[in-house]
Symmetry: D2
Subunit: 350 residues, 4 copies
Amino acid sequence: MIKVGIIGATGYAGAEIVRLLMGHKDAEIVWYGSRSFIDKKYSDVYRNMFEIVEDKCLDDNMEELASKVDVIFTATPQGLCASLVNEDILKKVKIIDLSADFRLKDVSVYEEWYKIEHKAPQFIDEAVYGLCEINRDKIKDARIVANPGCYTTCSILTAYPLVKEGLIDPNTLIVDALSGVSGAGRGAKIANLYCEVNESAKPYGVANHRHTPEIEEQLGYAAGEEIRINFTPHLAPMNRGILATEYATLVKKDGKLPTAAEVRAAYDKYYKNEKFVRVLPDGEYPETRWVETSNYVDIGFKIDERTGRIIMMGALDNLVKGAAGQAVQNMNILFGLKESEGLEIVPCFP
Amino acid sequence: MIKVGIIGATGYAGAEIVRLLMGHKDAEIVWYGSRSFIDKKYSDVYRNMFEIVEDKCLDDNMEELASKVDVIFTATPQGLCASLVNEDILKKVKIIDLSADFRLKDVSVYEEWYKIEHKAPQFIDEAVYGLCEINRDKIKDARIVANPGCYTTCSILTAYPLVKEGLIDPNTLIVDALSGVSGAGRGAKIANLYCEVNESAKPYGVANHRHTPEIEEQLGYAAGEEIRINFTPHLAPMNRGILATEYATLVKKDGKLPTAAEVRAAYDKYYKNEKFVRVLPDGEYPETRWVETSNYVDIGFKIDERTGRIIMMGALDNLVKGAAGQAVQNMNILFGLKESEGLEIVPCFP
Amino acid sequence: MIKVGIIGATGYAGAEIVRLLMGHKDAEIVWYGSRSFIDKKYSDVYRNMFEIVEDKCLDDNMEELASKVDVIFTATPQGLCASLVNEDILKKVKIIDLSADFRLKDVSVYEEWYKIEHKAPQFIDEAVYGLCEINRDKIKDARIVANPGCYTTCSILTAYPLVKEGLIDPNTLIVDALSGVSGAGRGAKIANLYCEVNESAKPYGVANHRHTPEIEEQLGYAAGEEIRINFTPHLAPMNRGILATEYATLVKKDGKLPTAAEVRAAYDKYYKNEKFVRVLPDGEYPETRWVETSNYVDIGFKIDERTGRIIMMGALDNLVKGAAGQAVQNMNILFGLKESEGLEIVPCFP
Amino acid sequence: MIKVGIIGATGYAGAEIVRLLMGHKDAEIVWYGSRSFIDKKYSDVYRNMFEIVEDKCLDDNMEELASKVDVIFTATPQGLCASLVNEDILKKVKIIDLSADFRLKDVSVYEEWYKIEHKAPQFIDEAVYGLCEINRDKIKDARIVANPGCYTTCSILTAYPLVKEGLIDPNTLIVDALSGVSGAGRGAKIANLYCEVNESAKPYGVANHRHTPEIEEQLGYAAGEEIRINFTPHLAPMNRGILATEYATLVKKDGKLPTAAEVRAAYDKYYKNEKFVRVLPDGEYPETRWVETSNYVDIGFKIDERTGRIIMMGALDNLVKGAAGQAVQNMNILFGLKESEGLEIVPCFP
C-alpha cells in the first residue's frame, strides 16, 4: 500500500486527489496537509467526506512528511513546492507537483511569466513533465513529476499528433479555450462569487496567460523547433471542464491539403491504445459534459478546405485529467501500478 | 456474474443504472432496452459511454429478456411495467421497477392519482416497497421490488424515525421539497428547455403530486395509522439533487418537548449502522452538493421551541439514492451481494 | 428634480438603486457613497455602467450628504444607518433605510435577533415600515422609511389578505422560502463562490433567520394579535428571485372550509388595484422567472381539502421589489410622484 | 404612433421585441402573430406579460397585416419572410426581417449555406443590411431591412474598423465565439434541455455555420475584396450573451506593428459617437454580464507582439443588439425617430 501525503489538501485540486484516492486500492492518504485548516477535521471542510474521511488537517511540513510517505502531492500555489524541496527529501520520497514550479525547463521563462524567483532551479533539469501519454517512459524513473496545467494538458494533447507528424504549421497555432470556474480555485475573491460568474462569459489573461509558454515548450519539442502561439483562456459559468478549440494552417503536400483520413491516422498513431484519449468519429466534436468527473480527454477535428486550416477541439475535466486525475495517473506510473487504477471512472452525466 | 437487462436504458435513470453498473464487479448488463433507439449504439446516445459501452440498444421485449437475464430494471413511464409483467416472467427473473406501478398497495389510490388503469393488480400484494434501509428483510425474497420515488425516498427517510418513535404528530407533517431538473426526465418539452428552467424556481403539482400518497402510505405504516400530509415539490435550476424540508409538531411528554438529544437518539436507533444515511452534527443541515453522484442521504434537524415544531431536512441525489442507486442497492440485497457493491462512490464536489 | 444620495452604492442593492434611477425622470443621483471604493469611478466597479455613470465613489458622510440631497438611501449592513442618523439630519432629508435598523418596533427584539445594540432607538417609533401596498398612507409623511427585507416583502404580501380577513389561523403559518444568491451580497466569502453555490440547494438560518420577527410583527398587526410562525430560507443556484411557499390551516365557517372564490375575493379586496401585485389565475403558481428585473410580486394559491390547509405562493425579484425597487417606490410616495415612476419595467425573460 | 405587427411573436426574439416595445413611447404593437398559439392570450404563453399585454395571438397573414400596420417584424425561421413578401405588401409597409432571407446579396451563397430555395430573390438587391452603426444612411429609405444575425453583429462590429483601416489582414481572421442558449430558440429539442446544456460547453457548426458567409460578405465590403475567414460558434450554459474572440495578423507599416494607440484611433474613428458601441479602456475586455438586457456592444483588444497578431473581443446580448434591440433600432431609423428610443436600457447586473 502506497502511503500518500498531500500538501494543499483543501483546495479544489487537493480535494479531488482525495476523492480519487478513496477509490484507489493500492494507495492510502496518511497526511492531509492544509495550513489554513490545521487541526480541523477534513470532513468539516468538505462535508461530502463526512463519515468517509476521519482525519484532521495537518501542517505543510515537507521534511516530516517525507519520512512518513512514499509520495507527496503538492497542490499549492506556484513557488511553494520549489521553496520546500531539497535533496534530502528527494532521497526519501517522490514528488508530484501540481503547481507550475517544475514545468518549464528555462528558469528565466518561469520567472518572466510567473514574476517570482525560482527557489530550486537545481532540480528543474531532472524534473519530468508529467503528460502521461507523451512522457510515460521518462516519468517512471523521475523523482519530481511536474504535473501539467489543465489548459495545457488539453491544448497539447489535442494538437500533439499533428504537430509531431508535421501536418500543421505550429507557428500558426491559435488556442482558444474556456474553463469552468473550479479552475480559479477556492480563494474568497469577489471575481469568483456566484453572481459575478453566473450568466456570463469572459476572456482573461489575453496574450499573457502563464500556460502559454508551457504549451509552446512542449509542442516545440514535438515540432523540433521553438514555436510561438496564441492562447486565450475564457471563463464559462460551469463548475468543471476545459474546452480547447485550436486553429492551425495545414501543411500542403504536393499542393494538396491532408485528408481527414490522414489526420485521423496521425491521431491513431499516438492515441489508438491510450485508454484516456478518445478521438471521436468524424463530424463529432467534444463537449465537456461527456468527460465530467472522469480522466478522459475527448478530441475531434474538422478540416476547412475554404481556408486551408484545421480546427482541432479537445475537452477534459480540469480537476481530473487537468489536475488530480493526471497526478494519480503519474503516481501509478511512478510506482509500477496499473496506470488506470483509481481512474476507471465513467463520466457522470447529467 | 449477475446478468442484467434494462428496459428504458436511455432515460436519465436508466443511464444512471448503466453508469453505476459499469463499476459493479458482480453484474454485467446484457440488454440495453430502448424503444426509441433500437439498433443505435448506446454510446451514440450517451457520448460519455464512448469506448466504454459497445452494445446497441434493443427493444423492450420482457418475455425474451426474462430468459436471458437474472434481473430486469424497468426505468420506464408508469404503466409499462405492469402491462408487461406476468407469472411466467416472474418465475424466471427478478424485477426492480423504477416506476410507480407497484409502490402503492391500494390499487384504487394508484388509479386515482395516476389516472391510468393498473394492468397487473394481482402482483401488487407480493411486491415489496424497496426502501432498503426500512424493508431490507422483505426485499431479500421479493420477485418484484417497487423502487421508491426520488422525493419519497428523501421525504420518508428524513421523517421515519420520528414518526416511528412517536416524537412527532404525523398529521401535522408538511414536506416542502425541491428537485434538480433531471427528475423531469429526458423528454423534449418546452418547459424543460434550458432557458425556461435556468435562473428560476417554481412550485408544481401543488396538493396533487403523485408522490404524496406514497409518502402517506409508508409513513402511515410507521405511525400505525392512516395519515394525511402536505407535500409540495419545486423545481430548482440544477441538474441533480433533492432537498426536503419537513415540518411537524413535536409531541410533548409530561408537558415538555423532546430534546435534541432524544431526537438524535431516534435517528441513531434506525440509522447508526446504515452506511448510506448520514445524520449530520447538530447545527448542520444537508446541502445537495455534498451527496451529488453518490448514494448517500444526508439528514439534519432543528427544534424550534418557539413554535413547538421540528424542522427535519434531508438531501440526496435524485438519480442515485432517489432512483438508480437504490435500484442497484435493491439488486445487491436480492442476490445476497454486499449491499454497497458498486455504490461506494464518494460524492463528487464541486 | 429630486436629488438622491446613496450610502452603500456598490453593494448589489445599491447598484440596483442606481440601475433603476437611471430610468427615473424625476430623480438624479448626486452622491455615490462607497467606503470601499472612495475616489474610484463607479463604472470601474460596475462595468455595466461604463459611459452611463461618470461619477466617482464618495465617503459615507451622512451629515454632509444631508445638506446636498433630498433623500438618502442606506443600502448598508445592519447598524450603520442607526449609528449615523440624528435629528439634524432628519430635519433636512428623508431617509430610506434598506437595512433592518428601523423595521422592528420593539428594540429588544431587534437586539436579540441581530445581536447588536441599537444606536438610535429614539427614532424607531416614528419610522414607517415601507411595505408600500399596506402602509402607503403612513409612508407619505415619514422621515424614516424602513424598507422591508426581501423574504419579508414576499412572505407578508402573499399571506396578508388571508390573515387580515381571518381566513387562516396565523399561528399555523409556515413559510418555506428560497432565494437567489444576490441576496447574500457582494462580500468575498468562500460560501458564496460560484462552485460552492452552483448545482446545490441548502437551507440556512433554520428557526433563527432574522426575517422571522419582521414577518411576525407585520402579520401580527394584520391578525390583531401576536403570532409565532416558522420561516425557513433556502439558497438556490440563481442570481435573483425569492419564492415563498406558505402553509396555513384554513379557518372553517359553519364547519366548512373557505372556497377558492372566497380566498380570491380576499386577495382582490387588497390587491385589485395594485399595479405591482399580480394574483395569478386559478391553477397557476408563481415562478421567479416571470418577475425577474421587475417590481412585480406574483401570487398564487391552492386549497388542499384533504388536509384543510391552504398553500399560498409568492415570487418577486429580491433586488427589485425585495430591495431597490420598493425603495424607489417608497421615494415616489414620499415625494408625491407617480408611484410607479422608474419602475414600469417589463420582466425580462429569459 | 407607429403601428407594429410581429410575425413570430412567441419565439424568444419575438418576445424580446415585445418587451422592448412596451417601453417605446412612439410605437404600439397591434398584431401578435404566432401560428402555434392562435387565439391564445399572449400572456398565457409568456406569463411575465400578465396584466401587461392583454392581446391574443393571431395568424401570420402578412397581406392582412400590411394594411393594418406601419412596420412588420418577421422573427421567424429562414424562408418564411421571403415566401410571404410581395410588391403590394412592400408598397404599404416596411419590413424588418430578423431571419437570414435578405442578408446575403448573392442568392446562390444563400441557397448553398441554407439549403433552401429563395422565394423572393427580386427583393434581395434593394434590401439593406441593417447593421445600424455601419449602414445607417441606407437603412433610412429601405423597404426591407435585413436584420443581422447575433454572432454576425458582434463579429463584424468588433473587427470592422481594423479591417476598414487596413490594420489587419482580413484573410487571417479567425472568429471564435460563444453564445448563450436563447440563441437556439424555443423549440422543444432534447439538445436544448436544461440537463443537456447545463454544466457543459461545446462547439457546433464547425466550419459550416451559416453566419460565416454573412461575416465574410460584410467585412469583405470593408476590406474592398472577397475574404475567407474561420468562424466557430460554441454553446455556453447561460441564457443570454454572445462573446466573440477574434484573431488576425496585424499589417506592419515600415516593418513595425501598429501600436495600441493606432488601433484605438481606428475604433474611435467609427465608434466615438456611437451610443451603443463601447470601446473599453486598455487592458479591459468585454464580459457578457456587463451588457445583459441592453443594446450595448462592448469591445476590447490586445496586441500580441510575440506573434504579431491582435486579439479583438466583443460582447453583446444576443436577444437585444443581436436581434430585437437592433430591430427596434432599425425601426427608429426607418421612421426618423430618436435612434435610441426604447433602447436606453441600463444593463441589468447581476
